[in-house]
């Protein structure tokens, strides 16, 4: 495959064959080596062949092989000519990250660190057989899917201020849960308000470095040593089922002939099935917003109980990194509405965009990039350049480089816990095997991922945080 170097961090797969647009990859030489090890670039090229794709398909620095679309991929489609694809969003719809600030410093919680984490582990359900709240009924679940985080606020989980600091204000208006299958609903009912397993986690973190004092302050990050809480999870079984259901319905309706990869299956945006998928996807997005809202509320409760107060535990932001949306972007100098797919990519809107709340409009939205278990995570600010360079998108995390199988062969969960403890990081988990699979060595270097984002200009570094306590689902 031809790969043209544009500059130190930008590579291009020029338009060829069935490609309707070129593909741009943002990566350092080192990250590109990782990316080349699997089918990422091949998949990105497939995306560039889809109907109605506009300008360029983008690959983020943390990209790795996905299903249909690569993970770490961004593509936009014309509203009339273009398509919407469940594989372009991913199975975990609105997998995302929420970040809470606190007024506490590392020293304040030093003595209570273990207790805080143990209490959070008790309060936030994770793993099979743990339900979020007393079994919901079907009607309540449907209401959650319509109202998202608003439902959680109305039911006492947090404050209206949280909604302001949530992407889409915690509710995608396009949701219509009438298009959810019975199976999706059944899977969603017991799991609302649960963390889930796999790469999902909850961390108590401390600020280890501030790169941009002024922007950090706007975000509510005041000093090194300040304690934050990060929650990384998604729409659980409900979202997974929506993806599977619509991949199947689209296959049955349109057939799979000519598709290089079955999970590239798609429907015209304005078609009946395209609209039904979009409305169901929005319902799953809302479910995930409500989910993170409830978990955030329980974390505040634990701080109030253990530390005596949860005052000042404001939300910094909540971002989704698996989603399709209708947004306005500049194509040939003309602003037009398009359907953007961000799969394993975070929105990174710069100053002035109307979608971001007043409180952040002068500095750009907070972009939250979680690292792997036990390593640093980063807070960036969205940029105007990102709108030009990547349709307002940047990376979403570290991205795996080693299989879970290999990680299990090489690492032991119990040993990882000991190593983390030596570094002053507490760990609570539901399974040792899960811990081994998530060993930090199995992931790309998140430091390098955010450095590239910063250098390219698609997300500017604001602060670095490191964990002091990790809960793994």
């Amino acid at each position: 495959m031809e790969l043209k170097k544009i500059n130190e961090y930008t590579w291009e797969i020029p338009k060829s064959g069935n490609m309707k647009v070129p593909t741009i990859i943002y990566a350092s030489a080192r990250l590109l080596d990782d990316i080349k090890r699997d089918l990422t670039l091949h998949q990105a090229k497939n995306v560039a062949c889809l109907r109605g794709i506009q300008r360029t398909a983008y690959v983020m620095p943390d990209a790795h092989q996905g299903y249909g679309f690569p993970i770490g991929g961004v593509a936009i489609f014309d509203m009339d000519e273009g398509i919407i694809s469940p594989g372009g969003v991913g199975y975990d719809i609105n997998c995302g990250v929420r970040l809470l600030r606190t007024d506490y410093s590392e020293r304040d919680i030093q003595e209570k660190r273990k207790e805080l984490l143990a209490e959070i582990f008790r309060a936030v359900p994770a793993g099979v057989g743990k339900s979020g709240i007393t079994r919901l009924n079907r009607n309540v679940l449907l209401e959650v899917c319509v109202k998202g985080a608003e439902w959680a606020i109305e039911n006492g989980y947090g404050t209206k201020e949280d909604l302001i600091r949530t992407e889409e204000y915690g509710r995608m208006k396009g949701a219509d849960p009438r298009y959810l299958s019975q199976r999706a609903i059944e899977r969603g009912i017991p799991q609302l308000g649960t963390l889930g397993a796999g790469n999902h986690f909850l961390e108590i973190q401390k600020v280890s470095e501030i790169y941009d004092q002024q922007v950090a302050q706007v975000f509510g990050i005041d000093s090194e040593g300040q304690i934050l809480v990060m929650i990384h999870c998604g729409s659980r079984g409900l979202g997974h089922q929506v993806a599977s259901d619509y991949i199947r319905s689209m296959e049955n309706k349109f057939g799979i002939r000519g598709l290089p990869d079955r999970e590239l299956i798609n429907a015209p945006i304005r078609s009946g099935l395209g609209q039904q998928y979009y409305k169901s996807m929005c319902a799953a997005v809302n479910y995930a917003f409500a989910n993170r809202q409830m978990i955030a509320h329980w974390v505040r409760d634990v701080f109030a109980k253990v530390m005596g107060s949860s005052e000042g535990m404001d939300q910094i932001y909540d971002v989704c990194h698996n989603v399709a949306k209708f947004e306005k972007h500049k194509i040939n100098e003309q602003l037009k509405e398009v359907c953007i797919h961000r799969k394993g990519a975070t929105r990174s809107f710069g100053p002035g965009r109307e979608e971001i709340p007043d409180v952040y409009r002068s500095v750009g939205q907070p972009v939250i990039i979680p690292g792997s278990m036990g390593t640093a995570s980063y807070i960036l600010a969205g940029t105007e350049e990102a709108e030009r360079l990547s349709f307002g998108s940047t990376a979403h995390g570290a991205g795996r480089v080693m299989s879970r199988h290999e990680a299990r062969r090489r690492f032991r969960g119990e040993r990882i816990k000991e190593e983390l403890e030596r570094k002053g990081i507490e760990l609570e988990c539901t399974s040792w095997r899960g811990v081994a699979e998530e060993a930090s060595q199995a992931y790309k270097d998140v430091d390098e991922v955010v450095r590239v984002s910063h250098e390219v200009g698609i997300g500017k570094l604001v602060a670095r945080v490191v964990p002091v306590g990790v809960m793994k689902g």
Partner: protein, 140 residues
């Protein structure tokens, strides 16, 4: 004959399951899928569920069949020990499948060590040579 084996995959889990018949390969694929979340050998066979699946082609059938395991876990907390009496039928261009799932409802005595998000079509294969082999990548 080996029932199944796992292969290397960067982000997710990839396995091949084998059988003298297509049905046996499907049944072993169900074991491989369950083994990503719990040890099927340690699950008591206290409950039986009759499962009926349809698919437009053999891969869709396999996809739906394995998805049933996740669906039953999430909605009914059912842990699969074995998929027995698997019968695959072809009617015109469509496929249908019947099977008996045996296992138990989740309780504290069982250890769950993993989670599956979805069964994918990525690198999926259903092949017949000396015996049947199905290959599946699971999003975990």
């Amino acid at each position: 004959m080996q029932k199944y084996r796992f292969l290397s995959h960067t982000a997710d889990a990839k396995f091949q399951a084998f059988g003298k018949t297509l049905e046996e390969a499907f049944s072993n694929a169900a074991l491989a899928t369950a083994s990503l979340m719990w040890d099927p050998k340690k699950i008591e066979k206290k409950k039986e569920l009759q499962v009926e699946i349809a698919g437009n082609d053999i891969k869709q059938l396999l996809n739906c069949f394995l998805e049933e395991i996740i669906y039953l876990l999430d909605s009914k907390m059912f842990l699969l020990s074995s998929a027995e009496k698997v019968r695959v039928k072809k009617e015109g261009s469509r496929y249908s499948l019947k099977a008996l799932f045996r296992g138990d409802e989740y309780s504290n005595k069982y250890e769950i060590h993993g989670n599956i998000k979805a069964i994918t079509y990525n690198e999926m294969k259903v092949e017949k040579r000396d015996h049947f082999m199905v290959q599946v990548v699971v999003d975990v």
